[in-house]
């Protein structure tokens, strides 16, 4: 095994050009995939922060006693998907309406009595947004005897959730296209490299080397290249990320601080993937050139 590693390192030294090119192409592929990942992860974050804004308003029947309110609250709270249920008295509701109406709020001045009902404002858990599930939840709450009516931006949520789904779908589609493209690029690059070393492989076979003896250093090399490619690709992305986030943040005064980099765990996964793809490319190429 040590011998194999030694031979692999020796190969890397003697085939510097081939190794450099392979590592460059691997880095670029990793850069592409991880850039896309970074983009969709952050967009996802951003959309999640929007999702937190989705609320269900449950209006209480007018004759509910104040002592019951805590009970109702608890009943709502235990429902699946509910993050928080906040009581909002009719006075609060009127205040908000005034605010919302702005210049038309003078309209409300003519009222003698507050005709608005008491209500619960229900925030949903983050994983929840899905129009059917929200609808189910709304129906459930509406079936409580104390609840008069339930309101939620059915149309708006529907549209939003669909946009979100579309975006996610696009994200999946693009990620898989890009991932596959990267895998093919790397695998083909390794095929090219091994093609240009096929004479060497042939000679080794002729002097009695077993397939395993020939293959192992290639695999070791490819996995090392994959690791280096992954690390360099991620480093390049990180550099770009740092550059953009320090230079752009001020200009936009937009909350770019919220833009986060790939987690360590995800970075590790990417590097492992890159190593695996190196191995895979090697596997395909060696099958091709050893069979000949």
């Amino acid at each position: 095994m040590i011998l194999y590693f030694k031979r692999a390192f020796q190969d890397i030294r003697t085939n510097r050009f081939l190794n450099a090119v392979t590592i460059i192409i691997m880095s670029l592929s990793v850069l592409i995939v991880s850039t896309l990942l970074l983009f969709f992860l952050n967009t996802n974050d951003y959309m999640n922060s929007w999702k937190k804004g989705i609320k269900i308003i449950a209006y209480l029947k007018p004759d509910i006693e104040e002592t019951n309110i805590v009970d109702i609250k608890n009943k709502i709270h235990v429902l699946y998907g509910v993050a928080e249920a906040k009581f909002m008295s009719k006075e609060e509701a009127m205040g908000r309406l005034r605010e919302q109406m702005k210049r038309q709020s003078s309209l409300l001045d003519g009222l003698k009595e507050n005709p608005l009902p008491d209500a619960f404002e229900i925030r949903l858990t983050e994983q929840f947004p899905n129009s059917e599930r929200i609808e189910n939840l709304a129906v459930q709450i509406e079936s409580f005897p104390e609840i008069d009516d339930v309101e939620y931006g059915r149309k708006w949520i529907g549209r939003f959730v669909k946009l979100f789904d579309l975006f996610r779908l696009t994200g999946y589609a693009m990620s898989s296209i890009f991932f596959m493209a990267a895998v093919f690029i790397v695998a083909n690059t390794i095929r090219l490299v091994i093609y240009s070393r096929r004479e060497e492989i042939e000679i080794m076979r002729l002097v009695g080397a077993t397939d395993q003896f020939i293959k192992t250093p290639f695999y070791i090399e490819a996995v090392i290249q994959g690791a280096l490619g992954g690390i360099i690709g991620l480093a390049a992305l990180f550099a770009a990320y740092m550059y953009i986030s320090t230079n752009v943040e001020y200009g936009l005064s937009f909350d770019l601080l919220n833009v986060r980099f790939l987690s360590l765990r995800l970075s590790g996964t990417i590097i492992l993937c890159s190593m695996f793809v190196g191995w895979l490319g090697c596997f395909i190429a060696l099958r091709q050139f050893l069979k000949e």
Binding site: E200, V207, G208, A209, D211
Partner: protein, 225 residues
């Protein structure tokens, strides 16, 4: 028909034909090479000398007929066991087949590494073999930086380092001056006296005459003598 247990002959060829497409490179070759024989294969350019050797190391499959080496039937050898066959053979290729990206030392050491020998043993052995072909000072050179004859000597060194039972040599002294050539031949003869079987392909009638060994003569793929 074929007695696989007849060990008196190391190499046996029965009615062997080899076609490359429509080109008949070897036609009905029958050959018995007994253990420790020293046999020349001769004939003009394109006669099929290299092809004959190629069939023996399974560089190409036969088109027809059978070949036995040390009792192994070559057409029944599985892919996985080909390396075991080749380790019994020491092959000097006509075009040397040195790995261009490795040093002289690594090219020669390769054979022993593939056999799984120890590092120290390899080091010693390679040095001694390089000394035998007069290339001990160039162990760190790359093959392209060697002269034609020097490359050939490295090829010879690589062929003999594994102490093969059978040496297949294709024009082993074609690029060598008389002096270097006889040094190489002395080396081959030494392996012969130690028990190896030698098959040497050459177009050089002079060489055969001088050595006074048996030769078979090929012409356009046919065995004529």
């Amino acid at each position: 028909m074929i007695d696989e247990n007849d060990k008196s002959a190391t190499i046996r060829m029965f009615h062997v034909h080899k076609n490359y497409g429509s080109k008949q490179a070897l036609i009905n070759i029958n050959l018995d090479v007994s253990k420790n024989e020293f046999l020349f294969i001769t004939g003009p350019s394109g006669a099929g000398k290299s092809t004959l050797l190629k069939l023996l190391y399974l560089g190409e499959p036969v088109s027809e007929g059978q070949i036995l080496i040390d009792g192994m039937n070559l057409s029944r050898i599985s892919r996985k066991r080909i390396p075991l066959l080749r380790r019994k053979l020491g092959i000097i290729f006509q075009d040397y087949k040195l790995i261009p990206t490795r040093t002289v030392f690594d090219n020669v050491a390769l054979v022993l590494e593939a056999m799984g020998k120890k590092r120290q043993f390899i080091q010693k052995k390679v040095n001694s073999v390089l000394r035998m072909v007069g290339m001990e000072k160039r162990f760190n050179a790359m093959p392209q930086s060697l002269s034609g004859g020097e490359q050939q000597r490295i090829a010879v060194a690589r062929a003999v380092i594994g102490m093969p039972k059978i040496i297949l040599a294709d024009e082993p002294t074609g690029s060598l001056d008389t002096e270097s050539a006889s040094a190489v031949f002395d080396l081959l003869k030494e392996f012969h006296t130690r028990g190896a079987t030698l098959l040497v392909a050459t177009h050089d009638q002079e060489l055969i005459r001088k050595t006074g060994r048996k030769a078979i003569y090929l012409k356009e793929g046919r065995q004529t003598k």
